[in-house]
């Protein structure tokens, strides 16, 4: 009886395949939009078609982010789902708290990375995209970067699955690589939707590349390659610090952490106790 049920397709299997297709479609939409934007970038931005690129960038990236959310959100267990608002709040509050230290970074993805380490790549991607959508209630300029935020969450989850958070010195390395990719994907948004970056410091770096005659997209991509990897390396290190500062009882309650042995050390000995109670 029980052996038979292993071979009979479960009713949820078709739905699961549909969701996997949605996830792939979301990722494909983001990748295709990026490639299209780079191939068709207007050679002369002064002559006008930047509005066209802005519409394509907004449409393609938002479609990808929404597809990812639709694919992932309904199948999340409640214990993971309730963490997403916490992650969003952490993104905002910790971002502001780090601002008081006077360091020139933005640190607006600490919550996303933390959730991705605890709950996996798919949850991380959905958290990143949702974070941008909810945050846009206070700051609408965050909304177009939803695809980049989803990519950060996804890559952080992959790094955790690959065991990069088991050694503390590997976490910033994973953050550095994530920053390179996320910066490159977000650059067209900054270039075509906003025409630049919103900080004076980053604006100065873009200006320097522009003065050397780069196109706007090239200048902003180079600026992102300077700022983002450093920022994400620090964010991943902070997330690793936070995960290890949390008690084992809390971190090991996540199936993702137990299954892929995300963190160094063994599960707490008291773990089987709740099943008896």
């Amino acid at each position: 009886m029980s052996q038979q049920s292993l071979t009979v397709p479960a009713p949820g299997q078709a739905a699961g395949r549909g969701r996997r297709l949605l996830e792939i479609a979301g990722a494909a939409a983001i990748a295709a939009t990026y490639i299209f934007l780079v191939l068709t970038q207007p050679a002369d931005i002064a002559s006008g078609p930047v509005s066209f690129s802005a519409l394509v960038a907004l449409g393609g990236f938002l479609l990808g982010a929404v597809l990812l959310i639709v694919a992932v959100l309904p199948v999340l267990p409640t214990s993971t789902l309730v963490l997403i608002p916490v992650a969003l709040v952490l993104n905002v509050v910790l971002g502001q708290l780090m601002g008081t230290t006077g360091l020139p970074f933005y640190f607006d993805s600490i919550g996303t990375v933390l959730i991705a380490v605890l709950a996996g790549p798919a949850t991380g991607a959905a958290t990143g995209a949702l974070s941008s959508i909810v945050w846009s209630f206070f700051n609408p300029t965050v909304l177009p970067f939803a695809a980049g935020a989803a990519l950060i969450g996804f890559l952080a989850g992959l790094a955790a699955r690959g065991g990069l958070f088991r050694r503390f010195y590997l976490a910033p390395v994973a953050g550095f690589v994530t920053g390179v990719l996320a910066g490159v994907v977000s650059a067209p948004i900054a270039a075509f939707v906003f025409g630049g970056t919103s900080g004076l410091g980053t604006g100065a770096i873009v200006s320097a590349f522009r003065a050397m005659g780069d196109t706007l997209l090239a200048a902003i991509t180079k600026q992102a390659l300077i700022s983002d990897p450093m920022d994400k390396a620090i964010v991943f290190a902070i997330a690793a610090l936070l995960v290890y500062a949390l008690p084992r009882r809390t971190t090991f309650q996540f199936p993702f952490v137990r299954r892929y042995r995300v963190l160094a050390g063994n599960a707490p000995v008291a773990a089987p106790a709740p099943s008896k109670a």
């Binding site: 789902l81 952490l90 708290l97 909810v134 609408p140 300029t141 025409g195 200006s207």
Partner: protein, 252 residues
């Protein structure tokens, strides 16, 4: 009067206006939209929150754009002034004006929406449109959690200060102070979330299927027609822009 606007009508209006503004690509229209949103926010009585929020977002962006395109715009031809590598060009200033006014219009319109919308109404309207219930939970939960977090962070800081935390000195001691506040905050939030998950599961939150709602948001037919027209206009604007710019973009 504004309270009777269906949340989706307001959202559709904001989204359509933003899309049409981006597609139109005219700084005059952008400035007009931004001003109109400002006037509407005064009439709705939320100008005191919308305008400062917009200023905090837009001021650094506009300054950055002005510096970037005003001084360095290699594509510009009409040079107004020149200092070494920096050239002030008409095209650069025009480009900065275009993009700054466009972003200002979109930011103002969306802030007007988010500061006037009734979040419980929006959540129940979204659920009635079969948006996953989880999305409504995340949205409403985050918006109510944020003020509570600020109060909790304040309590943690007070507790740590009473134990000898001093917020001064060099970078390392500041970072140490941040760690002393962050770890209790994150721990408490994750712990709270665990409790909330159990409470939600006990009430059948994780189970799929149809849901009923005590909150019924009136959706008059006139507003439905308005939404259809607004979406149609936005689609037409996008189609016109794509048709007008496609060959130019494809050739380059």
């Amino acid at each position: 009067m504004r309270a009777r606007l269906h949340p989706l009508t307001a959202l559709t209006a904001a989204g359509s206006v933003a899309v049409i503004t981006v597609a139109a690509d005219s700084w005059l229209l952008s400035l007009a939209v931004a001003c109109a949103a400002g006037v509407l926010s005064v009439r709705a009585g939320v100008a005191g929150r919308v305008l400062p929020a917009a200023a905090v977002i837009l001021a650094p962006l506009c300054l950055s754009l002005l510096m970037l395109h005003g001084l360095f715009f290699p594509e510009g031809h009409t040079v107004l002034a020149q200092w070494g590598p920096a050239r002030v060009t008409t095209e650069g200033l025009g480009f900065a004006l275009d993009l700054a006014s466009r972003t200002a219009a979109c930011v103002m319109v969306f802030l007007l929406f988010s500061f006037t919308v009734n979040v419980p109404d929006l959540v129940s309207a979204l659920e009635a449109r079969r948006v996953p219930a989880q999305f409504g939970f995340v949205l409403a939960s985050t918006l109510t959690l944020l003020p509570a977090i600020a109060a909790r962070l304040d309590r943690i800081r007070q507790a740590q200060e009473s134990r000898g935390l001093v917020l001064r000195g060099g970078l390392l001691s500041r970072l140490g102070a941040v760690r002393l506040q962050m770890v209790p905050l994150v721990l408490a939030l994750v712990d709270d979330a665990g409790n909330r998950a159990q409470a939600l599961d006990a009430r059948g939150f994780g189970i799929g299927g149809p849901r009923t709602s005590y909150r019924d948001v009136a959706d008059p037919p006139a507003q439905r027609r308005f939404r259809a027209v607004a979406l149609l206009l936005a689609a037409v604007a996008v189609a016109l822009r794509l048709a007008a710019s496609w060959p130019a973009a494809g050739l380059s």
